[in-house]
Structures are given as C-alpha cells and as structure tokens.
C-alpha cells in the first residue's frame, strides 16, 4: 500500500542562503503513529508545515494523501486538508465561540448537516475526549489540558485520515498529559487514521509512537522504533534522550571569550 506521507530529497529555505530543511527522506505508513523529534529550532515544525501544504518545498518531493503538494492550487490544497486534522500547540480554539460551537465549526463549514445530526456528531466527538459536559463552556473557562482535548475533538470532527500534532504535550500537568497520550493512541486506532506528532518531549512521546524520525539542524539524523532510539549510539540522540547539558549541542550559545566580555587581562 502506498505510504500516506512520502517525502523524497526534500529541502526548504525561506532565503537561499539559509536552508531550514535539507535532504529529508521520510515515509509514513497508514495507521501508524509517528514522532518527529528534535530540539527547538531543528526544523520539525517547518517540516510539519510542508506536510500540511502551508509551505512549498524548495527542492524534492512531498506526497501527502496521494497529492504532490508542490502542484496543488488553493482548491486542491483545501480538498486535501478536509482529510486532515491538526492539533495546534495551544489548541487555537476560537475564543468567540463555545466549546460546542468550536467542534461544530468544521461540520457546519463543510458538511452542513441538519441540526439534529450536527448535535449528535458534536456530542459524540466531545464524548470521545471526555468533555461532553463542558459543551456549554467558553475556551477561557477551560484549563490547558481541557482546551487541548476540545481542539482534538474539533480536529477529528471530519473523521480525518491524517492527524497532525504540533507539540501536543507542552505545558500539560501529568494527568492531562496522560489523558492526551491515551487519546492520541486511541483515536488513531479507532478512526483508522495516521498520526504525526511533532515534539521535543522525547521521553513522553516515545511511549506512544510506533516510529521516530529524529531531526537536528534541518536533517533527519536518526530513525527507528522507540527502543532503537532509546539505545541509539548517535551522540546527539543520546544527549537528547538523556537530557544531558553538554554534548553535540553545547550549553553556551556561541560568544566571544568570557574574559574578553568581562574585560579581564589574559
């Protein structure tokens, strides 16, 4: 079966002199939960934006849900996105709508079901994330974890084939974190979807994903199943998995000599 996301020799740069992604090869099979990991600024969110079609590759190929994202016009892009769901880092809920209206939004925009069916669908989606009782609340009345769950309910409203998660664990307490991890896995399996999780929370994410791509400086430097990543000998991966202060990624940002900044004689 054709992979749901297939990326070959992909490069991306906002300006030619400063490439953000280089020589990326990646293949994601249907039904998998895949993690794209690496430190902040390594290019993983940019890669996610290429997959969702928000950025066009500077070179190489990105095929998503059978579409070559380089050739899609706006209508084609929107047609592709109707088969995708996206969970943003902080939920990105519409603050002028209630929880119910947020989940109903994509259904109203695309499906326009009768009111009774719409109500049933919204209640079912909210029940799937455990927040049926919070339907009447506004986003400002939700905790961070609840907001993330409502956003998850909204992102699965159209039963997507591909669900993208951008840093889904940031700022969550342990209980909310556990709930989100379980929901990601359960929803992926029950919907028969494929999930891509972009995160720098390595230890937490390794417990939920089937396969990992590890990125550094715009490249994929390691890949494999979670156990292979945990036992990787790649120095960068080791530093990241163990949370070591020193390693390939130095503690200090590049700077002149300390003595020179303090104006001390050598």
């Amino acid at each position: 079966m054709q992979p749901i996301v297939e990326i070959r020799k992909l490069a991306f740069a906002y300006a030619p002199a400063h490439p953000v992604l280089r020589d990326i090869d990646l293949s994601i099979e249907r039904g998998a939960v895949v993690g794209i990991m690496g430190q902040s600024g390594c290019g993983k969110t940019t890669l996610l934006r290429v997959i969702m079609g928000a950025l066009r590759p500077s070179a190489g190929e990105a095929r998503v849900l059978g579409h070559d994202t380089r050739t899609l016009d706006t209508q084609g892009l929107y047609a592709m996105r109707r088969k995708m769901g996206m969970l943003f880092q902080f939920g990105a809920l519409f603050t002028d709508m209630s929880v119910y209206e947020n989940v109903a939004f994509p259904l109203r925009e695309h499906v326009k079901p009768p009111d009774e069916l719409l109500n049933d669908l919204v209640i079912m989606k909210l029940n799937a994330v455990g927040l049926r009782g919070a339907a009447h609340l506004t986003p400002t009345e939700l905790s961070g974890g609840m907001a993330r769950r409502v956003a998850l309910a909204r992102s699965i409203a159209l039963d997507p084939q591909l669900i993208l998660y951008d840093e889904p664990f940031t700022g969550l307490d342990p209980i909310s974190f556990g709930v989100i991890v379980r929901l990601i896995r359960n929803l992926n399996d029950s919907l028969g979807a494929t999930s891509i999780i972009v995160t720098h929370d390595v230890q937490e994410a390794l417990g939920v994903v089937d396969y990992v791509y590890f990125m550094a400086a715009g490249r994929v430097i390691a890949q494999g199943k979670p156990d292979e990543i945990r036992s990787s000998s790649e120095p960068f991966v080791r530093q990241f998995v163990n949370g070591a202060a020193e390693g390939p990624v130095p503690f200090h940002y590049p700077a002149p000599a300390y003595e020179a900044d303090l104006e001390l004689a050598a």
Partner: protein, 268 residues
Amino acid sequence: MRIVDLRARLERLGSGVTTHVWRLGFASRFLAYLVLHSGTALRRFRLTIAEIYFAGVLSLIIILVSGLFVGMVLALQGYETLQRFGASESLGVLVALSLVRELGPVVAGLLFASRAGSAITAEIGLMKATEQLSAMEMMAVDPIARVVAPRFWGGVLSMPLLAALFSAMGIFGGYLVGVQLIGVDAGAFWSQMQAAVDLRNDIMNGVIKSVVFGIAVTWIAVFEGYDAPPTAEGVSRATTRTVVTSSLAILFLDFILTALMFTGGTHQ
C-alpha cells in the same frame, strides 16, 4: 564623510518609500481578494449582521452622545455669530448644513475609527497571534472569506448609518440649545432648514462621504489586523496604526471629496 552620510540618508529614505509603496500595493491586492471572496459574507448574511452589531450597534452610545454635544456647541457658536448680522433665524440651516455636509461624516468617521476600527484590528490580530486563523486554514476554511469579509462589510454598512444618526442627534442638540435654551423661533429654525437643505447636493453628498470613509476605515482596520506581526507588541502597534492612518485618511479624503462636491458654484 558628509557624502557618506547623505548617501545613507538617501538609502534610508528610498527604503522607506519602497516599503510604503509595497505595503500599499499589498493592501490593494488584499482588498481586491477580500471583495472577490465576499460570497460567504453575503450568502450567510447573519455573519455580517453579527459584525454590524459589533461595529455599529456597540458604537451607538459614543456616536449619539458625541452628536448631541457637537450639535449643541454648534448652535451656541453659530448663534453668537449669526445674531451679529441679524440672521439668528438661520441657525437651523447652519447647524443642519454643517452636520450633514461635514461634521456628521467626518466626526462619526473619526469616532468609528477609534471605537470599531481599533477593535476590528485587535480582534483579527489576536486571532492571528493565537493561531486561530491558521487553524481555520487547516480546516480548509479561508479566513479572509470567513473572518475578514464579514467584518469588512459590517463596517462598510454601519458607517453611513452611524453618520446619519450622528447628524440627526446633532440637529436635535442644536434645536435644544437654539430653540429651547436661547429662544430662536422654532418655526423659523425648522422651516429655513427644510428650505435650505437639499437632498441631492447636501444629504446625498454627505452619505457618499460616509460610505467612502466607511470603506477606507474598515479596509485599513482589517488589513492592519491581518498583517499584524503575531505578537502582543505587533498587535498593539497595528491597533495604533489603524487609528492614526484612518484618521488621516478621513481628513484627506474629506478634502478631496469636498473639493469635488461643493466647488464651482453649483450650490447656493
């Protein structure tokens, strides 16, 4: 050294001009795209009605109170001058023409820019900063058609109504001060106003002004919000720019429109 300084200044000037021209071009393309993608705002008119409430109805208090006081001051000042020439019965004409032709559209436009324009910019800017617009795009919903266009048309439709209410309230304020307080004859106040104010040359020209100001202010407000850097500082600066640019645009456009409408001796 001086030549180097001069060159650096010229380069900065050139860069500034280029940036502003580029931004004006971008804003124009944005307006064209917005108008062409207004189908959702017009088909699902309740979206636009909600924005009319937000931009128009919620601006009513400031518009009505300001209109009342402007009319009252106009009557006091006008009476002071007119009585010197024995023409105090023309007070109604002076108040009505000043309001309908000029002060109604201009002052209502300035108040609209401060109250509704800044709110529109802040709202769209914050939606962008909190990724709500990106989320909409990811749901295959065009944020310009769904969020920006209803706000644009809501503002454009609200502004002439607010200007008309401002003028009506101003005339009532002029009546209170001129007739009830000072004692100008009520018959003369109303009849002279009725005889002198012309539907096409005065009222319609005032309406045209308020429509043009409504388009300009709302265009600036939605563009600044959409183009705002997605940070607290970026949204704050965009909101300030909306008020400053809108106010200057209103005064500039008012001069151009007045020059086109009321010169050449076509109207007495």
